[in-house]
Amino acid sequence: MDLENQQRIKDLAEKEGAENLVVILGGAEAEASGLACETVTNGDPTFAGPLAGVPLGLACYHVVEEEIKSEVEAEVYEDQISMMEMVIDVDAITEEVKTYRDKYSKYKL
């Protein structure tokens, strides 16, 4: 996850309160999405950025996960997401993001 965005997430968690902040991902691949989820929950695993050693424990979901999809107006979801949903591996992404969320998130929806 890009270093500038790590700093933004860190600042937002302080400003809004970690319990109120939810990170939503749009990554095309399972591995990269999992890595982003790990970064905002357990800290930067590459120890390169501002979140290195900072386990924020944020709630983190991919937009295609049922917890998010089910709350979005169906027509808007259809317009904005459904095309990409057909070309990405939803099951693999869901499994990967959920693995890190279950392990490290202190907050859930």
């Binding site: 996850m1 809004e16 939503i24 749009g26 990554g27 990269a32 982003a36 998010i68 904005q80 929806l109």
Partner: protein, 41 residues
């Protein structure tokens, strides 16, 4: 469940871009506080 939450969106240039996710989240009653579209690689 999302209603009242503050949302940070990390979109992906090769996946689902930030603004597309933002449009979706705006229908849930949550408040988007940050949107970006990064290259995940």
């Amino acid at each position: 469940m999302l209603k009242g939450k503050k949302i940070a969106i990390l979109g992906d240039r090769d996946g689902i871009p930030g603004p597309a996710i933002e449009e979706c989240i705006e229908t849930t009653g949550a408040e988007v506080v940050f949107t970006t579209t990064e290259c995940f690689v």
